[in-house]
Subunit: 197 residues, 4 copies
DNA sequence: TAATAATCGAGACGGTACGTCAAGTCTTCCG
DNA sequence: CGGAAGACTTGACGTACCGTCTCGATTATTA
């Protein structure tokens, strides 16, 4: 999105159009993913010209990226409370919930799929979604290691790969459900039991 | 592929054409993935008509699926030796190596990406690639549980999700390298150290 | 049709196949004309292989040409009786009837249409259908001129063009019906009234 | 052609593209007729996308119909002068000249051929080419009958069929040349000699 | 209160790939 | 060798979507 540009003159960008586009992108996204979503459709459904879409986004992947971010950013932002371990567990649970939520699951899958052959999108996805959580998780797990030096802790990077990897694995490969119990199983298996209290 | 059908009459299917198509699919696959691979290109490069491709495969995803299977089936088939745990570790290492191998990495990524919006492909991928390994791994881990009942074992399904999930996570999300040391880290963290001897 | 070839050895040509092909061609011809008739259809409907068709005919136009000739040759062959003028009139009536007959009208139209961009077919059509009638008509009209030198006769070639031209004109351009009364009108207008007795 | 529609908004239709398509159609038409003319070729030769062609014409027959109309409409439009009979004779001569003119002969033959299996085209051809001339000719011949009641006139419809029929007959069946002398022969034979002064 | 300037909806444009279809040829096995 | 079956190459078809472009109309700031 070209929000950085700010000409002092001329007709200002239509906020209505921006919103309509993002909403249309969300509404029209089906199980067919990005390939099943066409810019013409989005434009028609949003009551917007294709020109307007291409003026502000480079392609439909970028549109969906924005649509996804806008819809989910607040859900992951709320700060967790409790011990470091508890906060880590909360974070993982939240991501799992996101992957289950109807409004977020399909866009997310579509974005991950598209990012496999779209380097820019892959970067954007990592920068705007993965990196934050990964940094926060690393900090929390390092804190755990400092506070409980006697524990036999695995490297934070490895542990994060294991837990988050399992979430993505179910989301993308097996397609199985991601309920809270399953997430607890993953966390218990990697952090040890009784770490949720 | 319709290899199952076997009419006694008529001109037999050209094995040369079949091979040329699969090889062309492998050779022409770039980082652009399936969207960057066109049936016209494959046909031209293989010296085969589009018609022939569509006679035997429903779409280019199916072609690439066959191309991938043909190229990698033997690499994963060789039986591992040693204890149950050793054999499990070997299996995981082999999958990781596959994900690293130039000839297999790109096709695999492309197939996983495409399977996100292609239900048939997703099923085929699970049935022909994931299911076998998962069943074998489950058997091995159950054997471990029987032989070492004192061990604090996690459920096989969870453990498999964790380990394989981490592999897919690096392959699809972070794009980081999957070397043997990293795989050992994953296995040590989930199975315990000293399980490789 | 390659009837000229007559090898002394090997399996003889199947008369059953030949007939089935020509009948299938007649039966499958619709208002779509030659373009709407496919060799695959003919082969399937006749229970014959495409190979067999291409062995004996160069293309589907030739097949239809044979099918048409076979079905209509006898209808035009019966000798007319009476005076020269009467025999000429009979000949014209017979051609008009042919153009009306369901079994002949469509094949004929299709052949004339196809002959516009198929030189071989055009030649065949002229040689095997037009030329005979034209020669006979010329002979008859010259005989009339000899027998009735006082009559103000137009050149046979012009008269034939006028009368037959009108038939083709209705067949191909206006598509109007060609009944006997209309044909008599044409003949009366060109030969003079009272020439039918 | 959808020239009737006139939306006030959107990018206006490219006159350049329209012209280029029609010209390409004329230039690329060979003795192979419509079947030998491909939309891809027209598009490439006109520097236009296939899309644009299909946006404005339903098929290549419609393109050629427009190309033909555009090139010939003015040639037949100029009013003839003289008596009713003279004007009729002029009209017939003009059509004959059209059938001889290199720029018009092939398109016309191709259109008549195609109209044998294309109902829409047949209607268009009759409505836009045949009907006008036929109506005008009928009017002229009726005027002749009124002015010269003593003459032994044949029905206008029959006379038109005879004369124009002969032109089409030569054009489509025998392929012979249509020079002015021949046309005069036809007119003399049907209207009587000395009607050209 | 204009003039300027960027946006907007609409929709035509060139380009590329799609998946289908028919033509005509070739390759097998069976009488 | 003829014939049935059916796979093969070739080439055109008509469709769909992409991303760009050109209109007239709109809505701001600047003069």
């Amino acid at each position: 999105m070209h929000t950085d540009e700010n000409p002092r003159t001329g007709r200002p960008r239509s906020e209505r159009a921006r919103r309509a586009v993002l909403q249309a992108a969300r509404e029209l996204l089906t199980d067919e993913g990005l390939p099943g979503l066409t810019v013409d459709e989005i434009a028609a459904h949003a009551g917007v010209s294709k020109n307007t879409i291409y003026r502000w986004w480079p392609n439909k992947a970028a549109v969906l990226m924005d649509a996804f971010t806008e819809a989910t950013s607040d859900k992951l932002a709320a700060p967790a409370t409790g011990t470091a371990i508890q906060r880590f567990r909360t974070q993982v649970h939240r991501v799992a919930e996101l992957m289950n939520e109807p409004a977020a699951r399909r866009p997310f899958i579509a974005l991950v799929a598209a990012s496999q052959h779209d380097l820019e999108l892959a970067t954007a996805l990592r920068d705007r979604f993965v990196a934050d959580r990964r940094a926060a998780a690393t900090r929390l797990l390092e804190q755990v290691a400092r506070e409980q030096p006697h524990r036999q802790n695995v490297e934070p990077g490895i542990l994060i790969d294991l837990v988050y990897g399992a979430l993505y694995y179910r989301l993308l490969i097996t397609g199985e459900h991601l309920d809270a119990a399953y997430v607890d199983h993953l966390l218990d298996a990697t952090l040890g039991h009784g770490t949720d209290g």
